[in-house]
């Protein structure tokens, strides 16, 4: 268990002119759980494989503790890895697959049994220990692969899409148990995933990657409340953030629909965005409050916008409402049942601090929240 530090790490594959990983730096603390999040081809897996030692590092350094590990063989790095394709040993029973790395060392038999039992209980693998991997379902194989990595004593744990195939009924439970296990044992962990829900559920900090570049590295709260750019804003959150183009008018932002016609207005301080003509604005669905028309007066300094309910889906513990405002479409999430029927008129109350402003061209965040 150790810190893991990447300094200006880049990867260029032979025959390619582009950097698959471009100057990535991050300092992962001892016992910290972080996620590398992005869609396929963003460089997250290449980064993980460089840490594991399966890919050479084109430039930059990777350290575990104070040791530079760039040139060490994978077996000398003392990292545990769970592979996306599971990579189980088919002729070995599940029990021996899990215990494999322990058998190599000088761990006592009783100790091995104890640890295998603990980790397989945690991952609900008990009844499968005497089976062979080819007889297991994909989700079960993935759990064995996870167990094999978690059972080890390693300086760092690298998990490549560790829960993509898990049975939906077990996912929430295993997520929580694994997070508890990793926290309890202060395991320095890097999780690679394309699923932002999983990244946010498990990690202390999330590194969002796109096109080989680190877009933002922060806590889930940072990503949610202060996305660094449009990419992060559109990637984080389910449903994703509502994004629009807006023109800056005197004392208001005029939000445009897809065709460029004004759809609604959000009041702001005169001169707040002086010098800019166009902006991108983002509104997180979870921060929009729905109210009946006429109740709006209590809004205080919040933006009040009338709209029409286009859809209203109740999902048990929360609701998604689709609201049409002029030619614009907005998704709002409520914590409970929303009474408004399709076609009815509502007033949206959007707190000023829930409106995110991005530069129209660079996509970089300009402000999180309008000034009151």
């Amino acid at each position: 268990m150790s810190t893991l530090t990447l300094t200006d790490v880049s990867k260029v594959y032979p025959g390619s002119s582009e950097r698959s990983v471009d100057d990535v730096s991050m300092a992962i603390k001892d016992g910290e759980i972080i996620a590398l999040l992005g869609s396929s081809g963003c460089g997250k897996t290449s980064t993980l494989r460089m840490v594991a030692g399966f890919e050479s590092v084109t430039s930059g350094t990777i350290r575990i503790g104070d040791t530079v590990i760039n040139r060490l063989k994978p077996s000398e790095r003392n990292v545990a890895m769970a592979f996306e394709g599971y990579a189980l040993y088919p002729p070995l029973k599940v029990r021996d697959n899990i215990a494999f790395s322990l058998l190599r060392g000088r761990t006592a038999k009783a100790e091995i049994d104890r640890r295998v039992k603990a980790v397989s209980d945690m991952l609900e693998l008990g009844p499968m220990l005497e089976k062979f991997p080819p007889n297991l379902s994909g989700g079960q194989q993935q759990r064995v692969s996870l167990a094999r990595a978690l059972v080890r004593d390693a300086s760092a744990y690298l998990l490549d899409e560790p829960m993509s195939q898990l049975e939906p009924q077990l996912r929430a439970l295993l997520r929580a148990r694994i997070k508890d296990h990793m926290t309890l044992h202060r395991m320095t962990t890097v999780i690679v995933t394309h699923d932002q829900t999983e990244a946010i559920a498990l990690s202390d900090r999330v590194a969002v990657m796109d096109k080989g570049l680190l877009q933002q590295f922060g806590t889930p709260e940072d990503l949610r409340e202060r996305p660094a750019n449009l990419f992060v804003a559109s990637f984080i959150g389910e449903p994703p953030m509502n994004l629009y183009t807006a023109e800056v008018g005197g004392g208001e932002l005029v939000v445009l629909d897809e065709r460029g016609t004004p759809a609604f207005r959000i009041p702001c301080q005169p001169g707040e965005f002086a010098g800019r003509r166009r902006l991108s604005i983002g509104i997180r669905p979870h921060r929009v409050h729905l109210g009946a028309p006429g109740n709006g007066a209590a809004g205080g300094s919040d933006a009040l916008i009338p709209g029409e309910v286009l859809s209203n889906h109740w999902l048990g513990d929360h609701s998604h409402a689709g609201i049409g405002i002029g030619g614009c479409f907005l998704i709002a999430v409520a914590d409970r049942h929303v009474e408004a029927g399709v076609g009815s008129q509502v007033v949206l109350r959007i707190p000023r601090d829930a409106i995110h402003i991005f530069d129209d061209e660079t996509g970089l965040a300009v402000a999180h929240g309008l000034s009151a």
């Binding site: 016992g31 929430a172 929580a176 513990d317």
Partner: protein
């Protein structure tokens, strides 16, 4: 008279009955979602209705006509597939035009209809492309346009949003019902995602072991699940199923703690049962609360702006609790910035027994609820 009626349908593959004696009806213009875990027989059911697979027994009646043995091309059914099933050697235009071509429609009318469907699904700008040049979202829109353009009276949608990205999935979830309601199309929609089922279905049919274990509105299925298996399928994190034992006249023993049993429930529970408590009905406090179960918070795993907590009672029982982020108990519970000293912490969980479900221990069936006495009914 129902528009589609399926009567005692059965289909076996090598003595394994995938569909068992299945009967149901769909009204004209209804949106029925067939929901079930993978391998439950959803795809076989759709293929039986589409005519790709013939049943061993039973009948399929569409609009009053028995179509059980009709060839697929004579059924007036449109279908969209999870893997899109576009014709890779034809442009998007030709894909969409295919159902009209089979009718020998005049060129001008065909052209108008294809463009109309493409406009409706907002793919008019990519209509000359081959499928391989389309994004997954555009592929699925093309497939939907193809299914809709012939204005079939029945539409089968086989998990069509499975392979598209989150943004498109949300757009389509909201667009689809409007699109279909305008045409009064009867829809059977298959999915493995309970949220999709609840969002889209007028009714949801839960498929398990080749038969429907429950058919009802999303409200019915969520609030009054027929058994504990169904209850577990709807909700994320899933419902807590806790073994409970009757303990005296007005108490229930759960997780080695006593919980007060509501008066109206006192006749429901004989000796033991399984108590189903949804995570949103578990309140967590860091201070001791009377009647609450003492627990440890093992882990906090945020889920889409909800704070999800895994609690462990002293006897090892695991309980999920979930609440909106806006009402979270600690600003950064489990997510301390320094990443150190997170650890477990003591807490007290109150189970909302009024909203709990009661299931039989052995079969998992929902225990009958006594009729509300007038003075208790609202």
């Amino acid at each position: 008279m129902a528009y589609l009626s399926v009567e005692a349908l059965s289909k076996a593959y090598r003595r394994n009955e995938v569909i068992r004696d299945l009967s149901f009806e769909v009204e004209r213009g209804e949106f029925l979602v067939v929901f079930g875990p993978s391998g439950a027989g959803k795809t076989v059911l759709l293929r039986l209705i589409a005519g790709m697979v013939l049943p061993d027994r039973g009948r399929v009646v569409l609009g009053g006509a028995d179509i059980t043995r009709d060839a697929p091309d004579r059924r007036d059914i449109g279908m969209a597939f999870q893997n899109f099933a576009l014709y890779p050697h034809m442009t998007a235009y030709e894909n969409i035009a295919s159902p009209l071509r089979s009718r020998g429609m005049a060129r001008a009318e065909l052209d108008g209809r294809v463009h109309g469907a493409a406009n409706l699904l907002r793919i008019d700008h990519v209509i000359t492309h081959l499928p391989k040049a389309l994004s997954n979202g555009q592929k699925q829109r093309t497939a939907l346009a193809r299914a809709l353009v012939g204005e079939p009276s029945m539409l089968l949608l086989d998990d069509p949003l499975r392979n598209v990205d989150a943004k498109v999935r949300y757009e389509m979830r909201l667009e689809l019902p409007r699109l279909l309601r305008a045409r009064d199309t009867t829809v059977i929609y298959v999915t493995q995602d309970y949220k999709e089922a609840m969002a889209l279905g007028d009714r949801i049919a839960v498929l398990g072991d080749g038969r429907f274990t429950q058919i009802g509105s999303p409200e019915t299925i969520y609030n009054r699940p027929a058994d504990s298996r169904i209850a577990r399928l709807f909700g994320d994190p899933p419902i807590n199923l806790l073994d409970a034992r009757r303990d005296g006249a007005a108490e229930l023993r759960v997780a080695s703690n006593s919980v007060a049993l509501p008066v109206r429930r006192s006749n429901t529970v004989a000796s033991d049962c399984v108590l189903g408590v949804r995570p949103e009905d578990v309140a967590v406090s860091l201070e001791p609360v009377a009647g609450a179960v003492p627990v440890e918070i093992d882990a906090v795993t945020p889920l889409n702006d909800r704070q999800v907590m895994l609690l462990r009672a002293d006897d090892g029982t695991e309980i999920f609790a979930s609440r909106p982020q806006s009402e979270q108990i600690e600003p950064s519970a489990g997510n301390a910035h320094d990443g150190i000293g997170r650890g477990r912490r003591r807490a007290w969980a109150t189970l909302d027994i009024e909203r709990a479900h009661f299931f039989e221990t052995r079969t998992g069936a929902r225990l009958a609820e006594p009729a509300l006495r007038p003075e208790l009914a609202r």
